[in-house]
Symmetry: C2
Subunit: 213 residues, 2 copies
Amino acid sequence: MSSSRQFTGGEPPSPRVGRRPGKPGTREAIVAAARAAFAQEGYERASLRGIARRAHVDPALIHHYFDGKPDLFVEVLHLATDPRVIAARVKASGKGRGTDLVRAFLTMWERSRPDGRSRFVGLVEAVAASQQASDGLREFLNERVWSFVDEGSADTDQPALRHCFVASQLFGLAWTRYILRVEPFASAPVDELAGWVGPFVDRALDGTLPSST
Amino acid sequence: MSSSRQFTGGEPPSPRVGRRPGKPGTREAIVAAARAAFAQEGYERASLRGIARRAHVDPALIHHYFDGKPDLFVEVLHLATDPRVIAARVKASGKGRGTDLVRAFLTMWERSRPDGRSRFVGLVEAVAASQQASDGLREFLNERVWSFVDEGSADTDQPALRHCFVASQLFGLAWTRYILRVEPFASAPVDELAGWVGPFVDRALDGTLPSST
């Protein structure tokens, strides 16, 4: 593990064979460097070049492991699935897409690790502890997620307000299920939760909005 | 401050004159002891007697400063206003009480300290960091808040599910405003937010629920 710090990136990247090629230590050094960079510089100001410098690797090597800055940020924030996958799902589906969105959002926190809670807790801790991390998450949503939500909407009146409503519904649900663990949200199957919360999200996405002042 | 640790509670409590009588160090020692007790033992198992022992004060002295365990827990969780005040407000109001509830909830985080954000961040950090703290918050809501919500409801079908909906709406709103700081939620006046989010809370409190499986 610690030997990754000595790797200076002189080796040309090997062909991409998924996310975990031969040198896991290098990948971990990049993630650690990205975590430090996002915390200290914020998402927008942090650069792949700076992250590579911190990790003592060639910038090109980052692209061997990650698609780019959003991909790295997702990794740092302990997200298992790229939120863009969810956003694409919203775009794709028509009626009742609130239910689909809730299902996809919950599945993101629960798949591949038995304790979905700890993954969301990781996000909550990172974002609560660092204003830069919360800035980064907001910028990330701005840059990569909301545009998909807007495209999927039949009517894009007051899109910013709808983004707030959607964020509030999803994070409120995750908070109640994973952090506060109030029943029946805490133990209900994902499909049942999707049926309960979906109508609220539909309202957030497509419902009539109060007239703004 | 540190002298409070040497105070052994031999002095009889002076008459209650609000929250900050003569010995602020004693009060702070009690709060620090309560914080440790809730974190290590959880809200239910922590006792006022045990907290007094940790603080090196006579148990009776705790009642000089606090109404009891819920009051202490509220203090520990950085809440400015007792959630019971909010619950009473829900009970009191009839139609459109979702809007009132949102207004009271936001006011709780924003009054008397300019940065409402940091107070909610304190709660988030405590609850994310300690499963006992989140257990305590859930128990506290169970014991002291939900009953008011139920009493205020015209129809108490599936009360537990409504509690989840209400918790999700309010914590989602606070998360989006104070932590994620998405506009327009981040900067909107409380009254405007209440108008936006109130209808969602009304649905949580009194709306038709999907048939449960």
